[in-house]
Symmetry: C2
């Protein structure tokens, strides 16, 4: 595999370098062709590298940045004051071609706005969308978007999300003619809000999209579709609801039987069965698929959960790598050229 | 306890009388003061009562209805053509005072529209809301609304939902000064859509509501609030997402280890631990809390899941009983009188 360089916003997220630096080392250890540019405050990053493996360190470079965009800053304000911030410098490295992609756990609105400003949307895309790939119970995967890049979306945007989602399903998941559904509150055509019904009308007529209709929230993990499209407000709440329930189940499974005195052989067997359960449900653990891809840009940007831990942030780095290797932006651009009406 | 009569739309839902009739018998067997009016086609209901206990049968009466509103009918059309339908007749029984409440698993939009038409909203309520009480991981319960009675809601409606939810938390769950939160995509004040931010501004200023701010989807079951308010579109998708994930987990737990040959003592122990797990997670099973209450009417209407099975529909009947006994509509009316601005 050829050398690949990614830029990390080392300061973003709830824990900053405490999580991003160890995650970077983990990613470097598992991918030998990978080079990382850690953007942030050297005084905070350096101490965390004290015990790092020197071979991995050779593939890491610190790029100084003076400031950090706060997670709770208003995006418009943050963007106006972003010069010199770790997020902006990381995106500039992508713009200049020094990095192939950027990964940040920072302020979503600011990342979205700055990405659009610096990397520009693809032709035919009004607004980029946040996309993730969720495991479903039929052992496959579903592409879900938008997860919160846009608070409101009109029908044209939903159709663009559908096209981008279909390309990702084809290219990243190798699904031929991926099924595309819209998330709604019922399966009948008259259900839901106007933007969704209008998007359904357009998708139904499209020869390029294998549109299968509406799906409801309870079908998020059932594998009935390969691509699930919704507006960013609903998508964000849906994904977080799902993650909240999964995390609650996993923590209940973990604590199963704890705090009770049992005979040793029963404890041992309980432990054994708990491990089996953890294996069975492990693929649903949100940490395993952390990292939402900002689709529709002339470059690759991955948004990690703000609260990501080390392995979750490492998963986001891996996602960035995958998106670059599979040339997701280029393939979306090519598909848009073929599908969208020409503006001449 | 005093005698209490409820009207059941026996024909509504995906399975009609096959589910509603056995559920009615189950409810009669467990509540001796309960009387039920089964509204629907006697030819379809009677055969299902052939083996019923005669003591329970004495507390059951069939009220004939000529037609059924289809689950996929457009609500406006269904309402115009509702005369003589099981849903409408059941609601008319409440209007006439022959039944204290109505339970239906039929078309949500039609039930909402007909309830509003026949039972009328309380003074100060623009549109009723669907509310349910969810168990959370801190062993308590959370009141969630709107779950889909309204597709879109403005800030005034969200505030009305908040007031109604707070009354339910106080009266049904006996929580003093219940915490009220708005469901949003972030906790910062600038997050989300205009209607939510405006509702937050109003609630923040209110002396009568213990408003605690925004919560995100992952907090649905964490018990951080007693009342969670959202618009019907988001609420419907959120609840169904949660239920879908819970059902998937429960079915995976059930099937855990099946289909594999194991030594008998390991199978036995596996079975034992599975039962423990089922007990631990059982209270989260959506069937246990089926039945959403249509709040804001001058009467009690409970909407059951369309796909409810017998025990789930029986749970909806029990909810109706609870709502009537706790005088939910009367208490909401009284609170609204005290809280809402007078229109003089």
């Amino acid at each position: 595999m050829t050398r690949l360089t990614l830029a990390l916003d080392a300061m973003g997220g709830d824990f900053g370098p405490c999580v991003t630096v160890p995650a970077a080392m983990q990613a470097l250890a598992s991918a030998l062709h990978l080079h990382l540019l850690l953007v942030g405050d050297p005084d905070k990053i350096m101490p965390l590298l004290a015990k790092a493996d020197s071979a991995a360190l050779a593939r890491l470079q610190i790029i100084p940045a003076e400031s950090v965009i706060a997670s709770d800053a208003k995006p418009s304000w943050a963007i106006r004051h972003s010069r010199g911030s770790s997020m902006r410098v990381a995106l500039e490295l992508v713009k200049e071609g020094r990095a192939a992609a950027c990964v940040s756990a920072g302020n979503t609105g600011a990342l979205m706005g700055l990405s659009k400003l610096l990397l520009k949307p693809l032709e035919g895309i009004e607004r980029p969308a946040l996309m993730t790939v969720l495991p479903h119970q039929m052992q496959g995967k579903t592409v879900v978007l938008d997860l919160g890049a846009n608070v409101e979306s009109d029908s044209a945007m939903l159709v663009q999300f559908a096209i981008m989602g279909a390309v990702v399903a084809e290219e990243l998941l190798a699904i031929a003619q991926p099924r595309v559904a819209l998330l709604n509150i019922g399966q009948e055509e008259n259900k839901g809000i106007a933007s969704i019904r209008e998007a359904a009308d357009i998708l139904r007529e499209s020869d390029d999209i294998n549109y299968i209709g509406y799906l409801e929230g309870n079908d998020l993990l059932t594998g009935k579709t390969d691509v699930l499209v919704c507006d960013g407000f609903v998508g964000n709440i849906t994904l977080k609801t799902m993650e909240g329930v999964v995390r609650m189940f996993l923590s209940l499974l973990k604590s199963q039987g704890e705090g009770k005195k049992r005979v040793w052989w029963l404890s041992l067997l309980g432990h054994f069965l708990k491990k089996r359960l953890a294996r069975r449900f492990g693929h649903l653990n949100p940490d395993q698929y952390n990292g939402a891809c900002l689709l529709g840009l002339r470059g690759t940007v991955i948004k990690s959960h703000g609260a990501a831990n080390q392995s979750a942030f490492a998963a986001a780095i891996e996602q960035a790598e995958q998106a670059v290797r599979r040339q997701v932006p280029e393939r979306i651009a090519a598909r848009l050229q073929a599908v969208l009406p020409k503006s001449d």
